[in-house]
């Protein structure tokens, strides 16, 4: 469905904010009702365009967090104080507002439940969003594909989708979630408390002989480090797909 949709022109369309879900002090999910949404694959993104009353426009790209099967389109946005679009989406936008968007975009950083390789997902901060689409897609399709998520956040309060991830991991269908907190952690914290390194990837990830499909998404230094560590550990570079955020997503 998304493939054929991509063949035509991606026209701008309006989505209505059906719900705003605070995720962390700086991150919120916008649940959008997009009547003519052509469908998407887990991992794709959308372009959002804002227009001021004098015609000034600004565009940014945001990963889609909802599964292809979800009735609404969800984007999850981190508010960057120096940003232009994100402080509007997280701060100004209210339920019932309309947002102009077009998509889905990107045909490479995608996963479908038909892929039976074990899955290793590595997220940093809001890099969890396209991986959450994959996890939700996996859940919707009843897949029990062995899947491990290693998710790095600054602190416990910065973990996006925390409750939902906990619930899905407790579901007993082959999803394991490991967290690491890089700046602050609660006193009784039992997860990792350092940046992702080779030891952590060896403990959480799959042996390379299992030929997992690997998706890494987060800030550039984290993605660079994780991807090159996995290559050094012997993973086939062709099985590692990355998506990187600069500091200037805005």
């Amino acid at each position: 469905m998304a493939r054929t949709a991509l063949l035509g022109r991606l026209d701008w369309q309006l989505g209505e904010v059906a719900e705003l879900v605070p995720q962390t002090p700086r991150v919120a999910s916008l649940v959008l009702d997009v009547p003519d949404w052509p469908g998407h694959l887990a991992g794709q993104h959308v372009d959002v365009r804002l227009t001021a009353d004098d015609g000034y426009q600004a565009q940014r790209s945001y990963s889609i967090g909802s599964a292809p099967e979800d009735p609404h389109l969800e984007i999850t946005v981190e508010r960057l104080e120096d940003g232009e679009v994100s402080p509007y989406l997280v701060g100004e936008v209210r339920k019932g507002d309309k947002v102009e968007l077009r998509g889905p975009i990107g045909g490479y950083f995608v996963w479908t439940a038909g892929d039976k390789r074990p899955l290793l997902l590595v997220a940093g901060g809001s890099g969890i969003v396209p991986l959450m689409s994959m996890i939700r897609h996996r859940e919707h399709t009843g897949s029990s594909n062995p899947t491990r998520l290693l998710y790095s956040s600054r602190s416990y309060d910065d973990i996006i989708y925390r409750d939902e991830l906990e619930r899905l991991a407790a579901g007993g269908n082959g999803l394991a979630v490991a967290h690491t907190l890089t700046r602050m952690h609660p006193q009784d914290w039992r997860g990792y408390a350092r940046r992702i390194d080779a030891d952590m990837l060896a403990e959480v990830g799959w042996p390379k002989a299992e030929m997992p499909a690997v998706f890494v998404c987060g800030p550039t230094p984290m993605v660079e480090s994780v991807a090159s560590t996995l290559v050094d550990m012997g993973y086939d570079p062709a099985t590692i797909k990355t998506e990187r955020f600069g500091a200037t997503g805005g």
Partner: protein, 201 residues
């Protein structure tokens, strides 16, 4: 203008340079990194650059040979399809005109290909006439692997995914075939001034 975003004013940081910023882009000061997989590490001792395809005598250079070709210093604005524009970026490299000097070919297109498997397609005429370089220095320093080093293609008048990182060679071809991103939803040509981001734009 059909739709107005209620309450949106924007930052308008780009006003002074707005004539240099294509539609939908915004100016950044840093140099974001975007690539689809791990960064390939290519020792210059193993690096080679080739021109092949519709050409009588394929050409190739080792790193040392390539560095002896006449180089140019150019300062260009670059535009990434992910919406950032970086102004006045300083590069040093070899003009594709120099690389193709004296080549006779009926080919009208080029598939640039890279270490790590990346490809991107361009019309040959977009690589010639002082419009494209194979760059190995950025801001006076050897080009960092994250940004495509040892050498990358530099085609600043098109979206920056056309400026293939870790470039290994140019294949001269008769037909325009989609490269990596062009097979994954992105435009065959990629003119930022016509906002040709995706298929159908």
């Amino acid at each position: 203008m059909s739709f107005i975003s209620r309450g949106f004013r924007g930052k308008r940081r780009d006003v002074a340079t707005s004539s240099r910023v294509p539609p939908g882009q915004h100016v950044v000061d840093d140099f974001p990194v975007l690539s689809a997989g791990p960064t390939p590490r290519i020792p210059v001792s193993e690096w080679k650059f080739v021109v092949e395809g519709e050409i009588d005598q394929p050409r190739s250079w080792t790193w040392d040979e390539f560095r002896k070709l006449p180089a140019e210093q150019v300062t260009k604005d670059i535009h990434c399809v992910t919406k950032w524009t970086k102004l006045d970026t300083p590069w040093k490299g070899v003009s594709v005109d120099t690389i193709l000097e004296g080549v006779e070919t009926a080919a009208e297109y080029v598939m640039a290909f890279s270490y790590g498997g990346y490809t991107t397609n361009l019309p040959l005429e977009d690589l010639t006439g002082g419009k494209a370089w194979v760059a190995y220095e950025f801001d006076g320093q050897p080009l960092h692997p994250e940004h495509g080093g040892p050498a990358r293609l530099l085609v600043p008048h098109l979206y920056f995914w056309k400026s293939a990182k870790w470039v290994q060679g140019l294949r001269l071809v008769n037909e325009d075939q989609p490269g990596f991103w062009e097979s994954n939803g992105y435009n065959m040509y990629g003119d930022p001034w016509r906002e040709q981001r995706y298929w159908g734009d």
